[in-house]
Subunit: 139 residues, 2 copies
DNA sequence: ACATCTTTTGCAACAAAGTTGCATTCTTCC
DNA sequence: GGAAGAATGCAACTTTGTTGCAAAAGATGT
């Protein structure tokens, strides 16, 4: 069962506003990772660009979404699963997949990141893993 | 032994210009990954911003540098090792490390990316792995 | 070394992306 | 419902990245 946007906001101690609800709903509906741009094209009639920037920033800080690295200079965001800590940095232990055909980026929650052994003297905090390829539906 | 910038350019079939040499030298001297911004602060007196953009683009296409994904919306580039193919996309099999103290990003050539098993129906093309933590010198 | 052809560079102008301050509006909580 | 605090919209701005075109510099033949 997918959570409702208002519940997520309440749980994070955020006030419930039309903007936040809409943006969260976009994430819930889409099912894949979204860039600021993606949200803007959907919401720009309703909300100001600045509001979208600030909302994404807030969601990040509260651990509602996490950012996904990419080599194309576009940061995408995806909803965090329940296990994320609710403030600041948090370790997502799943890998991210970017389809080269449909350009969608998704969280593969079922695939966990394998362990790596760093050289002597390095301390590990967080791992990000992004796999490019062709997704299930584009084969 | 570190390669000289002119050799690298010749090997890639690029004409040797002052700008390209300087930018390559910045990479060789720095030893870690650099963002466009980093290069601009060093070279903007000598060269135009646009030249730096185009040079980085050219280097990427020729496989002289590769881009490193990050969650902060800043693409960084690092020199490719010998094993990179000399045109277009190429698979770097090493992981990247970003130090949370000194903010440097480096290639850990000695650590190769472990294998992952994707779910049924997914085809793998390329893997990127970025590890955050504290580096050797910042401990 | 020189002339020629090709490639690269700088400039200007522009487009896109992201940030900040402040007044107004909306939420929350009593 | 009203007061206090938080979020939003607007405007202005900074930063980042792109494009076209003329001038300059590199490569190649002789």
């Amino acid at each position: 069962m997918v959570k409702k946007s208002t519940d997520i906001l309440k749980q994070s101690g955020l006030s419930i506003t039309a903007g936040r609800k809409s943006i969260l709903d976009v994430f819930i509906a889409s099912g894949n990772a979204l860039a600021h741009q993606d949200i803007e094209t959907v919401c720009s009639e309703q909300f100001d660009r600045v509001t979208i920037y600030r909302t994404l920033q807030t969601f990040l800080e509260k651990g509602i979404i996490h950012s996904i690295p990419a080599t194309d200079n576009i940061t995408r965001y995806a909803l965090c699963s329940e296990t994320c800590t609710s403030s600041g940095h948090h370790h997502d232990n799943h890998i991210h997949f970017r389809c080269e055909k449909c350009s969608k980026t998704l969280c593969l929650d079922e695939v966990s990141i394998p362990a790596v052994k760093l050289p002597e003297g390095y301390t590990l905090h967080e791992i990000n893993m992004v796999v490019n390829g062709i997704c299930k539906t584009c084969q």
